[in-house]
Symmetry: C2
Subunit: 244 residues, 2 copies
Amino acid sequence: MTTYRLDLAYDGTGFSGWALQPGRRTVQGELEAALQQLFGERIGLTVAGRTDAGVHALAQVASFATFREPPDDLAYSLNAVTGPDVAIASATEVGDGFNARRDARSRRYRYRLEMGWPPSPFERGRALNWRHRFDRPAVEECAAALVGVHDFTAFTPTDSEHSQFERRVVAAEWSEESERILRFEIEADAFMRSMVRSIVGTLLEVASGRRSVEGFRELLRGAARSEAGDTAAARGLYLIAVDY
Amino acid sequence: MTTYRLDLAYDGTGFSGWALQPGRRTVQGELEAALQQLFGERIGLTVAGRTDAGVHALAQVASFATFREPPDDLAYSLNAVTGPDVAIASATEVGDGFNARRDARSRRYRYRLEMGWPPSPFERGRALNWRHRFDRPAVEECAAALVGVHDFTAFTPTDSEHSQFERRVVAAEWSEESERILRFEIEADAFMRSMVRSIVGTLLEVASGRRSVEGFRELLRGAARSEAGDTAAARGLYLIAVDY
């Protein structure tokens, strides 16, 4: 049996997220259909970071194993049979037992804010337009507070399947991509469902002055979900790196 | 009668170009319908650079005149009634007789090439993917040769409505936008229909070694259209500046 690792990017706009859903176009569904076509058998994919509908990936990692022979150029073949909103950068044989999800040591996400108005036609579906007050020093303080091990219960859906809410954030920072685009990036060992988006939604409350930095800090001590802010729109979010 | 100047950007993907066409969605059609809604009368727009289907604009300029009273915030109102693939950056009263087309002294276009493979999902409709040889010194020589007054007959459709084929190119240069994206920019007093795209198509022949720099230079001396290369895809082209 040979194990393969896929490194891929996708524009999440046209997908109902990563995970298979009957009757919906999903990244997993698109890729598994392509693998079935190329290998002639049903193949199940494991992924480093499950993304929700509308969330993008610049560097997603998936893995699968099969006894079947691969086509000559697997990445090329996969790109040929998947839509133009997915790009398989590479498809490589890896050591037995490699598992894209279990073996990942950290994931890094980026959230893109487009400052100013009107929204650029070229950022549709790719950033959240922000035309309110933006207290940069305050959100910088919050980013610094995020680093470390915290109880992220406040940033998880109440119907969460998780049983353990501590996560280790190794980096959290704001930076400028361009004059108009501001980036928030956060890296952790693992994330819970919609965790980055609820962190960003809460940071935006701090940015606009509706919540204090101290109020934000308190959330990191296991506060209830209802204490945190809204979940920021999916379109601003990108999975940008997975480390093994 | 008051004359207005509109500065706008659009993603050309969803439009059959700038100019009105019955039964098609065009930028002019979208804007004139919005103006009719806001002013209560039929208003005709004049534009600095008519763009073809799929061609984008970062900084297009249009003008119109009317006796009617404008809404309080004309740019805001226009954005509210046009699609998200058009953004009106400003709508300002200008001096009587201002004409976006006639008064423009120069137009600047950018063509974006995405080098490498597979094509990024985020560059769909926004760049031409190029995975062939790219002789940068050769295309730099061609760019230098473009500057000046030349007879651009070779870069105009044979069914052209133009009667005079000399144009003054004031700048033509290659630059890197990022590791993967190469830009060609060209500025001239005026351009003929699909002129930039046929210049780029011909430059790509030079880049891949199918045409010599000297062969390119000869085209600038009034050669026939059939002598030049193909018209490069519309999706890589952007109108990026108009000077008055």
